[in-house]
């Protein structure tokens, strides 16, 4: 103990002597100590990310929709440190197997830059397995995925329950009831089918109604507007009685003042779980990217967890079946 006190006393004396020699004020010494501490306090170490221990993986995004829509986007992952960039192979071996042992081989379409199957017919309610392999030279693990094509279902009911006019903009309230068939996931796409001009002429607009024009009223987070596509993702299990409400603003961008809406189309896709979660994940990712320009700041913003249902790889293997319902406006 005595030894330590001597050391401390010695140090203090030394500081005093040095200060006197250099005609430094105590204030300056204090400033130096604080400066030293402050510079050490802000410790930010930036370093390169080491190469991953595992080889890069195959990315497959494949959608099935009966009867003939079988398309896949294929790539490989890249390293965060940039030493290995993502690749977009056009000679990958991609195959699709149905539960009744049908086999379909994907072929690369240079125009669409997607892999496609042109000779297959898909069956709703059936399960399918996808397998992909890059070949030996890429040293990548083959991937596989499984999905079941959901059966199509029509909207149980859809009706306009209210029309409010405010500052020349009409707002329609549409009550929608989904079918009660145990199917939890949907993608819904509304568009203006036809409108009548002031001169009585009917026009097909095809204008899509997305979240910019709609206020969604549902139970907890059951309906979400997604960025990458003009439609809504629906988790029906969160809805009470399978019902929700949309309030549509028929603004100038949707309908000109000379047009009167007389028919709305409701395209309802019954989607697989993987489709729902993947599209939801992409939407969050795009939202995140729009907010973080220079960095992916995991410290302040919740990072978006990447969805995949591909074994040993990334991406998704999903399916949907589309039906259409039209509402005629009286």
């Amino acid at each position: 103990m005595l030894f330590f006190i001597k050391i401390v006393t010695f140090c203090l004396n030394w500081v005093r002597i040095v200060a006197n020699r250099n005609k430094m004020k105590i204030n300056t010494i204090y400033l130096l100590i604080l400066l030293l501490s402050a510079t050490m306090v802000s410790c930010v170490d930036t370093y390169d990310i080491p190469d991953p221990l595992e080889a890069n993986k195959i990315v497959v995004e494949c959608e099935l929709s009966p009867p003939y829509h079988i398309k896949a986007f294929v790539a490989t992952t890249g390293n965060l440190n940039g030493r290995q960039q993502p690749k977009f192979p056009f000679d990958a071996d991609i195959r699709l197997y149905s539960e009744i042992d049908e086999e379909f081989v994907f072929k690369y379409n240079e125009e669409s830059e997607l892999y496609e199957v042109t000779n297959g017919r898909l069956r709703p309610g059936f399960s399918y397995v996808i397998q992909a392999n890059m070949g030996d030279e890429d040293n990548m693990i083959p991937i596989s995925g499984k999905t079941t094509i959901p059966r199509g279902a029509k909207v149980a009911s859809a009706q306009i329950t209210d029309v409010v006019s405010d500052n020349g903009i009409n707002t329609l309230t549409v009550d929608i009831e989904l079918p009660n068939n145990g199917q939890p996931y949907y993608y819904m796409h509304l568009n203006v089918s036809t409108a009548t001009m002031e001169n009585g002429e009917r026009v097909s607009t095809g204008n899509t109604i997305n979240g910019d024009y709609a206020k969604l009223i549902s139970d907890r987070n059951a309906i979400s507007n997604i960025i990458q596509m003009p439609g809504l993702l629906i988790d029906a299990e969160r809805l009470l009685d399978n019902k929700f409400q949309i309030q549509l603003d028929l603004s100038d961008e949707l309908l000109s003042k000379s047009e009167i809406l007389d028919k709305l189309n409701i395209d309802l896709k019954t989607v697989s779980e993987s489709y729902y979660f993947y599209q939801s994940s992409v939407s969050k990712e795009l939202s995140l990217q729009s907010q973080t320009e220079s960095s992916v700041d995991a410290s302040v913003i919740e990072p978006n967890i990447t969805y995949t249902n591909i074994d040993d790889g990334y991406g998704y293997f999903g399916a949907f079946t589309t039906t259409r319902e039209s509402i005629t406006i009286e």
Binding site: M1, I5, L31, L34, L35, S37, A38, T39, M40, V41, C43, V44, D45, T46, Y47, D48, I49, P52, N56, K57, V59, F73, A75, T77, G78, N79, L80, N81, G82, P86, F88, R220, N221, Q228, M229, F277, V282, S283, K284, E285, L286, L288, Q289, S290, Q291, S294, S295, V296, D297, A298, S299, V300, I301, E302, P303, N304, I305, T306, Y307, Y314
Partner: protein, 880 residues
């Protein structure tokens, strides 16, 4: 004649009476009994005194008697014990005959009650022991130094003790309700070098998972920058975690920082930290004691899920004026106390302010200039506590108190550069300020000898404002382009509360606490991001006020009614039970939430072994929306609403501990906790909170669980004291909307944690302190690769995060040491502390961040942020 007859009868009566007094009053004896049937007691007395005592078994009941008589007459002893069994005695010849009493009035045991205070200052002593060595019964003082102990008539040796004070032993003959106020002498005169007598440690703990920290311990711990801190000491308890160096608040047994009920003299405090958690708002000079409860919550506490940190401040000396001034590496502080108008009233005031702002300004200005930029950062905090206590006679007191504190941080940087003939004018500004204001009035009443009442009325205001903006203007010969982004976070809560607490001390074996109250909350949360399109046509920076004008801050009212009752019962044989219920009714705009929260704690004590069990349900009206990442400026307090229901938890805990020579104890404690309806930010960007959007629906709601084992080995008295412990814990969260619906580790889930806080008194004038802490790193979400995605006809590149909180930051390790030197003079005393915080200069990670490589925009790098490496400090205080 008639008068003569009366006179004769009167004289005969005196003779008979005199004769009857002679037998029992001539025999003296000592006799002890503890809960012994009265017939056995009478038999004992008959044998020992040699006087025949006749009684019928039909007359005596199975009433059990406790008595402690030292050289008392047989008559006195009988007079004390017989009324308890509704009996009396008569002298028949040389015998004593026991018969039924005709008096049917209810029996009443005498009660001793009063206050224990500091002899020097008159300060009430909280949690002091009152113990009758003969009767082997004891109690402790409540939060106002009041005690009440029910006894049977007799002579008692009563011991009054409190940690750091000399033991006072007195003998009393008690046969009626008696007020005994005791002043205890401090053990030593050198402040901060108290050698605690192990006999003064609490005689029993009636609540599981509870620790009481006294001012002495708070002052002794090695501190950052020479500033002792109660919350930092709390962080040394097992099961209590925090972000590195206190940043991010305290996390108790897997709970988040908002789940701690921090009370300042019974008033809830929303933000208890300065410098984002590095220091607490509690100036150590004014803190009298702190109670930390981690589980088995008594019913009187409610409103938070994970812990209670009940901090009591001093009332001030009623005897003389005292003061203290202190200077540490970071702050200057002062303290004054003394009598107010008379020796019945007192005041206390303390203030503290950092004084590093000029240096921070200069240092940051210099560093910015080195990087070709202009601007500087600035930071300071202050706090002010004031309290006045007025005595209204012997049994009532009014306390008026106030706390004000604020932190202010700003960092404004600008730069100008020319690239490819384009002039770029960039400005970055960060403005944060937050603080609390609390005003309260409290009325304490002692009603009779067994009832203590406390009314509190308070108003509290908490504000957090943060405004960050980045602005870049690019100007070439023809075009001015303007880029802007502003983030505004605001969290404001105003509470008005009225509550009443009552202590009804029926007897030493039965202590009832009950109370209730109402709190009116007003919340004003807002969270918004502003972009250039919000300020089209502008070529100047939008101000904070202009960005504020974009958001229509919602005002949300909430009302909370609560009531509680708890009964602490001594079942005998060393078994104590504290059972009760806390109920709350929470009213939101259109929904009411009612909850009944049962609480129970069981403590059994035999010799040196203590076993505790506890279970409690807790409900929390408030939510803190906090990022799972860093979670600082974006933390927003939210009330329960129609959609956001109150959070709930169930906590089960058990403890087994062994006392070794009274000063040391060793034990193991286990807990399991479930959390329901906890909230978090959603994935995929910041949440917006304003009147216009349906922000409640976008907030994910989930559940959590945590469990762990805590081993501790403490020595809290003597020349050398320490707190040492090891905690193994797991804490998880599960949200439908986070981590793809999979369970993930809580961000402060530190699996292993070893802590040691050691203090050794070297001489009367010197003290050595050491802290050591090593623990597993905090979880964080680690990116793994870059994934191309096809979106429409485009390809975007995403960072792959496979699992939330799937990796661990490096282990946290810190060693602090300090030496304190004391000197005493006629006019006062001095203390000098020299210390080194983080002596090993470990770069403890604060958080990890993925950034785009400035030299190659297609690649990423990792940035690790660490805070508070080696930090030497010196502090000085002068007490007068």
């Amino acid at each position: 004649m008639r008068y003569s007859l009366l006179t004769i009868l009167f004289l005969l009566g005196i003779v008979v009476s005199l004769h009857s007094q002679t037998i029992p009053d001539q025999v003296r004896l000592s006799y002890n009994a503890y809960l012994k049937p009265i017939d056995l007691v009478l038999s004992d007395l008959s044998k020992r005194s040699g006087v025949a005592i006749n009684f019928s078994k039909n007359v005596t009941s199975r009433r059990k008697i406790t008595i402690n008589a030292k050289n008392e007459t047989l008559g006195t002893i009988l007079t004390v014990i017989l009324p308890k069994a509704r009996l009396r005695y008569e002298i028949v010849g040389d015998q004593i005959v026991i018969m039924r009493s005709k008096d049917r009035r209810p029996l009443k045991d005498p009660v001793i009650s009063g206050y224990l205070t500091d002899k020097r200052t008159g300060e009430a002593l909280i949690g002091a022991n009152i113990y009758t060595t003969d009767y082997k019964k004891g109690t402790i003082t409540n939060d106002y130094g009041f005690y009440s102990l029910k006894l049977v008539s007799g002579t008692y040796r009563v011991q009054f003790s409190y940690v750091g004070y000399k033991i006072e032993r007195k003998q009393y003959y008690i046969n009626k309700d008696t007020t005994i106020n005791i002043e205890l002498d401090p053990e030593v005169l050198l402040n901060d070098v108290i050698i605690k007598d192990s006999r003064t440690l609490p005689i029993e703990e009636t609540s599981a998972s509870e620790e009481t920290l006294i001012a002495d311990e708070i002052q002794s711990i090695v501190s950052l920058g020479g500033e002792p801190d109660v919350m930092r000491l709390t962080g040394f308890l097992p099961g209590v975690n925090s972000g590195p160096d206190g940043l991010g608040g305290l996390n108790v047994r897997g709970g988040s920082s908002d789940q701690n009920l921090v009370l300042l003299d019974g008033i809830p405090v929303y933000n208890a930290s300065h410098a984002l958690g590095v220091y607490s708002i509690f100036n150590p000079n004014i803190v009298k004691s702190a109670k930390v409860i981690k589980g088995a919550f008594p019913s009187r506490y409610g409103g938070r899920l994970s812990s209670v940190i009940d901090i009591r401040t001093k009332e001030g000396s009623t005897k003389k004026y005292n003061g203290e001034v202190g200077l540490s590496t970071v702050a200057v502080k002062g303290y004054a106390e003394g009598p107010l108008l008379s020796d019945k009233n007192s005041f206390v005031v303390s203030a503290r302010r950092t004084f590093v702002d000029p240096w921070i300004k200069e240092v940051t200005k210099y560093l910015n200039n080195q990087n070709g930029k202009e601007g500087f950062a600035n930071y300071f905090f202050y706090d002010l506590n004031a309290k006045m206590s007025f005595s209204l006679g012997n049994s009532s007191k009014i306390h008026l108190g106030a706390y004000m504190g604020s932190d202010d941080f700003s960092n404004e940087i600008s730069s100008f550069s020319v690239q490819d003939e384009v002039e770029i004018d960039e400005r970055n500004s960060v403005l944060w300020d937050w603080g609390n204001k609390i005003y309260y009035a409290r009325l304490n009443n002692q009603i009779g000898s067994k009832f203590f009442s406390n009314f509190s009325l308070y108003w509290s205001d908490y504000q957090f404002n943060s405004f960050d903006y980045d602005r870049a203007a690019r100007e070439d010969s023809e075009v001015i382009s303007f880029d802007f982004r502003g983030d505004l976070f605001r969290s404001a809560i105003q509470d008005i509360g009225l509550k009443w607490d009552g202590d009804f001390i029926i007897n030493p074996s039965n202590w009832i606490k009950l109370g209730g109250g109402i709190i009116q909350h007003k919340f004003r949360p807002s969270l918004i991001q502003a972009f250039p399109q919000d300020f089209m046509g502008r070529d100047t920076d939008p101000t904070r006020e202009e960005v504020s004008s974009l958001v229509n801050t919602p005002t949300i009212d909430g009302r909370e009614f609560f009531g509680y009752i708890e009964d602490e019962i001594d079942l005998g044989s060393g078994v104590l039970v504290n059972a009760g219920v806390h109920s709350a009714l929470i009213q939101t705009e259109s929904k009411d939430y009612f909850s009944l929260q049962p609480r129970i704690a069981l403590v059994t004590q035999s010799d040196n072994l203590i076993f505790k069990l506890g279970a409690s349900k807790m409900v929390q009206f408030l939510h803190l929306l906090s990022s799972n990442g860093l979670g600082l400026p974006t933390d927003v307090w939210l009330p329960s609403t129609d959609i956001l229901a109150p959070e709930e938890s169930w906590i089960y805990s058990g403890e087994l501990s062994v006392s070794l020579d009274n000063s040391m104890n060793f034990g193991i404690e286990g807990y399991y906790k479930t959390l329901d309806r906890v909230i978090s930010y959603g994935e995929g960007g910041a949440t917006s909170i304003s009147e216009e959007n349906d922000w409640e629906s976008s907030i994910p709601i989930g559940t959590g669980s945590s469990y762990g084992l805590e081993l501790f080995f403490n020595k809290r008295a003597g020349r050398t004291t320490w707190l040492s412990n090891y905690t193994y814990s797991l804490s998880n969260r599960l949200f439908d909307d986070l981590n793809l619906g999979r369970q993930f580790p809580f961000r402060y889930d530190r699996r292993h944690n070893i802590k040691l806080a050691f203090v050794h008194r070297i001489t009367n004038y010197a003290q050595f302190g050491l802290n050591y802490n090593i623990s597993s790193g905090n979880p964080f979400t680690e990116p793994t690769a870059v994934q191309p995605r096809r979106v429409g006809d485009d390809i975007i590149y995403s960072i792959i995060y496979e699992e939330k909180n799937n990796a661990l930051l490096d282990n946290y390790q810190r060693l602090d040491i300090s030496f304190s030197f004391f000197s005493k003079y006629k006019w006062g005393r001095q203390k000098v502390s020299i210390g080194v915080y983080n002596l090993l200069n470990t770069k403890n990670p604060f958080y990890s961040n993925l950034v785009i490589n400035p030299n190659d925009p297609l690649t990423y790098q990792i940035q690790n942020f660490s805070v508070l490496p080696i930090f030497p400090s010196i502090s000085y205080s002068l007490v007068f």
